[in-house]
């Protein structure tokens, strides 16, 4: 199914994110210490790092799901105190509500005219005609697309993705990459993608940050042309090697 045809571009723009001197511990475990990171509006940032390195913790701080022990997390120049209405998250699991149909899941917030916007968002992610299915009949990739549509209906200015494609097969994953890149290019929201997969980071991001032992071990620009080819670009391979060395 072609995802490209259904897409209608609409730019919502992004908001800048800034973390300064952020500390976060769980008991005796110091996950982030004196952590600084500035993400300009509209940037596509990928965060890679070992398991348990604090990537999800970082994302939860930005989302306002958890608070920092000290330091500041700012979105659009304002301190994050609770959930920010223009920040949307995609989790590793799709987290669809099993007893709501696909369209009701996408329009979970039931905003004005939600059915129409939900239908359009589903078309954006290539799921036209599946509006009235139950989530349990969808494949893993389709579920993540519903979750993506749900995140997109509210026209977020920041999209946080915590390994959303980790459980998908390689082909579906590439399909999701193309989809995400296309929507991001059109809308220009600030994107933070957390991933284990260095190739995924290089294929999608403007900039890759390696998180190691609660600090940034590497911070590089990925200045490759878009739309990107998934394979065989020697510059991409070189970048992947540099990132892997830092992880």
């Amino acid at each position: 199914m072609s995802v490209a045809d259904a897409y209608e571009p609409e730019s919502t723009g992004g908001l800048p994110i800034s973390l300064s001197r952020v500390e976060k511990s769980f008991g005796a475990l110091n996950v982030l210490g004196n952590f600084n990171l500035d993400i300009p509006a509209g940037q596509f940032l990928a965060v890679v790092g070992r398991s348990g390195g604090g990537k999800s913790t970082l994302m939860r701080l930005v989302a306002g799901l958890d608070g920092a022990d000290s330091g500041r997390v700012n979105i659009g120049g304002r301190k994050v105190e609770r959930l920010h209405p223009s920040v949307r998250l995609l989790f590793q699991e799709a987290r669809l509500v099993p007893w709501q149909r696909v369209i009701e899941n996408v329009g979970i917030a039931r905003g004005p005219n939600w059915q129409e916007t939900a239908r359009r968002a589903l078309a954006d992610v290539g799921l036209e005609g599946r509006e009235n299915d139950w989530p349990s009949v969808l494949s893993g990739g389709q579920r993540q697309r519903v979750a993506l549509a749900r995140a997109l209906v509210s026209e977020p200015q920041i999209l946080l993705l915590d390994e959303p494609f980790g459980a998908l097969d390689a082909l579906t994953r590439i399909e999701m990459h193309r989809l995400l890149e296309r929507i991001w290019t059109a809308r220009g929201f600030t994107t933070v993608l957390i991933t284990h997969d260095v190739a995924e980071a290089v294929a999608l991001a403007d900039r890759v940050v390696v998180l190691r032992e609660g600090a940034i071990a590497l911070d590089i620009e990925i200045a490759l042309d878009r739309p990107r080819q998934e394979l065989a670009d020697p510059r991409a391979v070189d970048l992947q090697r540099r990132i892997l060395d830092a992880v």
């Binding site: 987290r95 509500v97 007893w99 979970i108 917030a109 299915d133």
Partner: protein
């Protein structure tokens, strides 16, 4: 489908065999009860068993017809059903409210749950003498007992259902800005529903059980009264008929809950008809 086309020329014969097999599997569950009925009929007709203690099925059938025509069967069944339904609505409603409240709100749990767990251990039928002292033998007594009988299964399963909602879904809902009312309506209650329905199934069992006992002890109407009254006049056929009516009412309640489950849990993979539409 693939096998059918491979079978080719044998298709017709296979089909008939399958049909016979299908018919046999539909009839099989009835074979034993029917055989027993026939044996029972023969035994009491031939005087092998005392027809006074164990009247023949045909005798029960005539009794059924007689009580149906004089309206008393309907009258007693209605009286019992009324008590059952009123008790279920009161006890089940309170159990549901208490379950949701304690499930959602920590102070309510601290206040109520340990007390309720303690009271739960008293078999509610043990309260019958007390209930007769309190309410006499009028309707309130029976409805009170039924209410208590259905309260606990509904309370416990509602509480459990609310408590075991996937916290990841709740987190997702808060990220998407659902307020408390929407969260309860769209996430928590539907999520607790499978468990609540399990509670309802148990409650219906308790409901009839309580009613049988309560009506045999103190009543002037209802199936229980009808059978106890018949016992005094040694009308064993009426007693047996009463038992059969109870069984049918119980079965009816079970069928009704299954139908409700099938309807409201359509989203649940266990209730989905496998269709070819899913890719």
């Amino acid at each position: 489908m693939a096998e059918a086309s491979v079978a080719g020329g044998y298709a017709a014969g296979e089909g008939r065999k399958l049909n016979l097999k299908g018919l046999a599997s539909v009839l099989a569950p009835w074979a034993l009860p029917i055989t027993l009925l026939v044996l029972w009929e023969i035994a009491s007709q031939s005087g092998f068993v005392n027809a006074r203690l164990m009247p023949a099925p045909t005798k029960i059938a005539t009794t059924f017809w007689r009580l149906l025509l004089d309206g008393s069967l309907f009258f007693h069944t209605l009286a019992s059903t009324q008590r059952a339904v009123i008790g279920l609505v009161i006890g089940g409603g309170l159990g549901f409210i208490a379950g949701v409240l304690t499930g959602l709100w920590k102070p309510a749990e601290t206040l109520l749950d340990s007390t309720l767990q303690m009271v739960r251990n008293i078999p509610h039928l043990a309260l019958i003498p007390l209930v007769i002292l309190w309410f006499g033998i009028d309707e309130t007594a029976k409805i009170f007992l039924v209410s208590i009988g259905v309260f606990f299964p509904i309370y416990i399963n509602t509480f459990y259902g609310v408590r075991t909602i996937d916290p990841q879904l709740v987190e997702m809902a808060s990220v998407y800005g659902l307020d408390r009312k929407a969260l309860i309506q769209r996430i928590i209650l539907p999520g607790a529903l499978p468990s609540i329905l399990v509670g309802l199934r148990y409650a219906l069992g308790f409901m009839w059980l309580t009613l049988i006992v309560a009506e045999t002890i103190s009543a002037t109407s209802g199936i229980g009264y009808m059978t106890m009254n018949a016992r005094e006049f040694l009308q064993t056929d009426v007693v047996l008929l009463g038992i059969i009516v109870y069984a049918l009412l119980g079965k009816l309640a079970d069928v009704a809950t299954r139908a409700i489950e099938k309807r409201v849990l359509v989203w649940h993979p266990a209730y989905q008809v496998k269709s070819g539409s899913a890719k």
